[in-house]
Symmetry: C2
Subunit: 680 residues, 2 copies
């Protein structure tokens, strides 16, 4: 367990049935279960710049000696170690914290040692209290102080020398000196770390910028942005659309793939197998004569146009996020230049995507088992680097769970070495362990099952799960009520109230959330056919022209919700999310709060889009810092109304036809007569 044996962990350690007696056997302190930690240190813990990392560890030794412990952290593998003293809580748990101020990796570990001076002082104090003879004890104390002198310098050294002399003198003042706070502080400053135990791992913290934890996304098809119906939109049209998106308060504008679209086996409207000559194809069918993943679809404009879009967006507080879909049409340049990156069929043709009996002949999946995998990885990485060079820092990765895990771990780390502000969102709707794994590999944010969690029980269970510490330390949810692929039955049949309810749920449950617009704010809820989650006349396969001025648009409430998010720090993170009991299962109540409790938000949503629902909400007053004897004010932020609540239980009624949700800012203290000047 001491520093020299640090390398001896895991498989070797498990096998090490016999401690080599030649090694240091006097490192008597045990350090266990250092946390936060992801998979025993295999993956980093995630934080954003400016956050605190609260470190706890189980620390104990044999016998009754007093211990001291230090949290050690550094920035980067070569950084200088900084130490913070740890404090014991209960049950042998110790704690300390450090702030991660910069982007990139931090490392931390824990050291602990027997503190002979602290042990001595403790016994000395008790003997004094029992009026025992402490002559020998003073000499023993002097011995310890004299050892510290050798480690000290300057004034400290002089002060320690003076203390040692007084203790050794056994004069009247010696006992007082022995227990002096000043001496304790000095002895703590120059601790004797004989046989210190160093935790056998350095745990990693991956620090990203604030937007990794708090962001509002707007997804938009550039080709549907033309001013005139039936015309193919361009990046210039997107620039004209920026004020609309920015005014709603979003900060990420995510575009589906902007690359040349293949023509072979192109899909027609509504995903039909045979396309008309005028059909525009799916943006996810990447690759044509005009180029592949580093090229721009000619009908959208030029690279210079794209640069302008990035710049103009930034001016309005919007960052452009690109879609990274590593797959190729038969027309992609890779297919001819690197046929070895694709799987062959026995007849020598390239294997198209299939999920038997379904065939997707317009898509060739990339073969990560290729013998040329190293060149393949480098090329795919170069795609990411290319777009970073064009000013993009946010990537929404399409189906990362169908590409090799080791690739993502490598590629994300490589990009972040050069662009530590890069953010990756994993679009994987698959089994939970695969989704968590992708987050561990380095994805900053992840799509979730949110779209399919609609009842009180489902939402409570799912969001309790993903916000428990061991998941929240690596997995950051990004909640989408709809996507171009997912129009849930709840929205198909719930109408406008359902859209509002899902908007509020996404934006309040998730510090990261997004909407696919303008379909969302215009409440487009017509599915292609019963039982399908695909839109009728989906933008994926055709141009759309949206009437943004439609009077039923949700843009005002979207704007309001985004403003509430920005104004309330409680909503900038998911850590504090807590559900509260409601006696009506059609109502969901939850809260978020800032660490210092100055900002507390309580949200109540009527999950039933058809009927007015009412019930008694029972707030967990203690966690919210409420005095159950005092009334408090609930300021409803969507309407501006203010209510007086009292105690834990309060009654609510929500009519989906007016507003199916209420967002309260809790004002703890209600002013009373004593709070005004005239009372005094």
């Amino acid at each position: 367990m001491n520093s020299k044996r640090k390398k001896s962990v895991g498989s070797e350690k498990a096998r090490q049935t016999v401690l080599p007696i030649g090694a240091e056997g006097r490192a008597r302190v045990a350090i266990d279960a250092v946390r936060p930690v992801v998979d025993g240190g295999r993956f980093p813990v995630k934080r954003i710049a400016g956050e605190s990392v609260i470190v706890e560890a189980d620390i104990f030794a044999d016998g009754h000696d007093e211990l001291s412990a230090a949290l050690r952290y550094r920035r980067g593998e070569l950084g200088r170690w900084v130490e913070v003293p740890m404090k014991p809580l209960v049950n042998d748990v110790w704690r300390a914290e450090f702030e991660v101020s910069g982007l990139g990796d931090y490392y931390y570990t824990v050291q602990a040692w027997i503190d002979r001076f602290k042990s001595w002082r403790h016994g000395f104090e008790k003997k004094l209290a029992a009026e025992q003879n402490v002559a020998l004890d003073l000499l023993a104390g002097a011995d310890l102080v004299e050892l510290a002198i050798e480690r000290a310098k300057g004034h400290d050294r002089t002060a320690l020398e003076r203390s040692a002399k007084i203790l050794r003198s056994q004069d009247a003042g010696a006992s007082e000196q022995a227990l002096a706070d000043e001496l304790s502080l000095l002895m703590n400053k120059y601790p004797e770390r004989r046989w210190v135990t160093t935790y056998d791992k350095e745990l990693r913290v991956s620090v990203e910028r604030a937007k990794a934890r708090f962001s509002a996304w707007y997804e938009m098809f550039p080709r549907s942005c033309a001013a005139k119906a039936g015309v193919h939109g361009t990046f210039k049209d997107c620039i004209a659309r920026l004020p609309y998106v920015a005014s709603m308060g979003f900060d990420v504008l995510y575009l589906p793939p902007i690359h040349p679209i293949g023509v072979s086996f192109r899909k027609g409207k509504n995903n039909s197998v045979s396309a008309e000559p005028t059909d525009v194809g799916s943006p996810w069918a990447i690759g044509a004569k005009a180029g592949g993943h580093k090229s721009i679809h000619p009908q959208l404009g030029t690279l210079a146009d794209f640069h302008q879009l990035v710049t103009k967006a930034k001016e309005q507080g919007l960052e452009i996020a690109l879609d990274i879909a590593f797959q190729c049409t038969p027309d992609h340049p890779y297919v001819t230049e690197h046929p070895e990156w694709f799987r062959k069929r026995p007849d020598g043709t390239i294997q198209y995507a299939e999920n038997p009996p379904k065939k997707y002949q317009d898509i060739f999946p990339i073969d990560f088992d290729s013998d040329d995998w190293q060149a393949l990885w480098q090329e795919l990485k170069s795609v990411l680097i290319f777009w970073c060079e064009q000013g993009v820092r946010i990537f929404r990765v399409d189906n990362p769970h169908t590409k090799a895990f080791p690739f993502w771990e490598w590629a994300i780390a490589e990009v972040k070495k050069k662009y530590p502000d890069a953010i990756f969102l994993a679009e994987a709707f698959t089994r939970p362990k695969v989704m968590y794994r992708l987050a561990k590999l380095g994805f900053s944010q992840s799509y979730t099952y949110f779209a399919w969690r609609n009842t009180q029980a489902e939402l409570t269970e799912y969001f309790t799960e993903i916000n428990q510490a061991d998941i929240a330390d690596h997995f950051r949810a990004n909640l989408w009520p709809t996507t171009p692929d997912i129009l849930t039955e709840y929205l198909q049949f719930g109408g406008r109230p359902a859209f509002i309810a899902r908007l509020v749920l996404a934006a309040m449950l998730g510090a990261n959330y997004g909407i696919y617009g303008p379909a969302f704010e215009l409440c487009d809820n017509v599915a292609r056919e019963p039982g399908s989650e695909e839109y009728l006349n989906s933008e994926k396969y055709q141009l759309k022209h949206w009437d943004l001025s439609n009077k039923d648009s949700l843009k005002e409430i979207v704007t309001l919700v985004n403003r509430i998010r920005r104004d309330n720090p409680a909503l900038h993170s998911d850590r504090s999310l807590r559900f509260h009991q409601v006696d009506n299962s059609e109502l969901l109540c939850f809260s978020k709060q800032s660490d210092d409790l100055t900002n507390v938000i309580v949200v109540v949503v009527n999950l039933d889009p058809h009927h007015s629902q009412s019930g008694w909400v029972e707030l967990e007053t203690q966690s919210l810092g409420l005095d159950s004897q005092q009334p408090y004010q609930m300021h409803e932020l969507l309407t501006g109304a203010r209510y007086l609540w009292h105690g834990a239980r309060n009654f609510l009624q929500l009519d989906p036809q007016s507003v199916p949700a209420q967002i309260f800012r809790m004002r703890h203290k209600l002013r009373r007569e004593q709070d005004f000047d005239y009372f005094l």
Copy 2:
């Protein structure tokens, strides 16, 4: 994650932000959370010979390929690896098991790989069902079979060659051949493990003999075994006492230290500071002119006498357990021969034990921080080896938590290298994390807080905690209602019914349990003073003469309880322990069962030693394998009475003045008319 990178774990792995692209990046399968595991593999999992180790792991890959996985285990570090195929359960969890038949260490790990044949077969089956053209697929299948041919030999090879030919022929029978079970079995037998993932740890299982898990201990002071009162007992007297102990059904006879007792600062009766010349001293005050830890107290007899005791005990099914108390009186030979093994005070004298303001001048603690610690460790180990050589294999270690942790890990492993059947019981009544740590370091069994857990809530909470998997995998409880140091208030004031209740609780809750006799079976419950847990006139400081024929002795019920334990496999382990609801908090109900459910024991104890208590017990019928529609028989094993119960809820009344506990063997199936010949 592949085998080449196996060494790269823990601290190194945490730092490895970038996967070296020169390494194999095609090991696409992830293996996570392999269990059972203790502290990430730092310590071994405990099992006894003949037990199964059920291994589970989270195994998954990107994409939709089919996977195969194997559990690999071996005996010892140099053993041959044996493989067991793993089976998928749900949620990406895979399982397999292996039996540990011999003593010592086993190692296990997990391998998983993309199974191209299984993936191919799965797609092929679906295409056939959809009546698609499978000509190319048959060729692809033939390619895979041909690769397997290169790995196969003999008949298998010939069979694979035949299959490949049929597939390649694309004849009418080819599809049938492709899906033949025989081909699948052969392909599983010669799997293609390209880019296999091997879990990055080999996890250790420490296998001990059955007595480590199931044992009944009897503690007895040899010096109190003399036939005549006032005479110092000897090993010969112990031999005469063996039939008494054996007849009660115990299998371990544990003796407090048998070494020469110091005279300096010897404690008198009732722990008085000044001893009379005739006082015998505490057996834990080890060391005198006659010798130290490898010597025998002259008044007990000779080494030859001890050998005879060991042999005679064995003949009666009893193993002798010795007490290992690593501490010295001022008269111990170590003090003069190795003064460097003790701490000095500033005046040059040796530091006696103290817990300020209390002083224990009769005891010198050993200084594990000594500069000569390596020689010290070797000497202490030689004490253990010495007694092993005298035929002892069970050690009850006194206060192991006041000796260095690294010493125990080393010393226990060293002893077990030579004597793999050695068993160590840790007598540490200290903070939970320290107690668990000692178990992890190698102690086979541990004393617990059982003595102080007396209410329904306390017992349920504590035994639920220590039997949860992550604790039960390293910590085996040994339950003692009393010890020479611990006479709890529950027993002081509860009288005989309390003794019976605690006996049944210890023997039924704990597969390992013990009593300190004859004080226990004779219900000695007089404390030295109010508020003390010390016995009045404790055997620790004086000779005692016990009237074994006292008519109130519990020996008959002790005998019965031990017989019930032996006869019922459900009681040979703590794994299946489960508590059941009772609507009266003075009653405790719990059950244990054998894996195959053929042996189910339900115990109900009245925790109130003063009043009759009754209540409704609500059994968890599902876990007990009960059909809630059928009546079943409950055979009460203390009285022999048989009851007919029905469903989950049944009523019970227990009078502490008759028997405060009932031990039922559940007979699932009650015979009905259909079960008899005459019905047919």
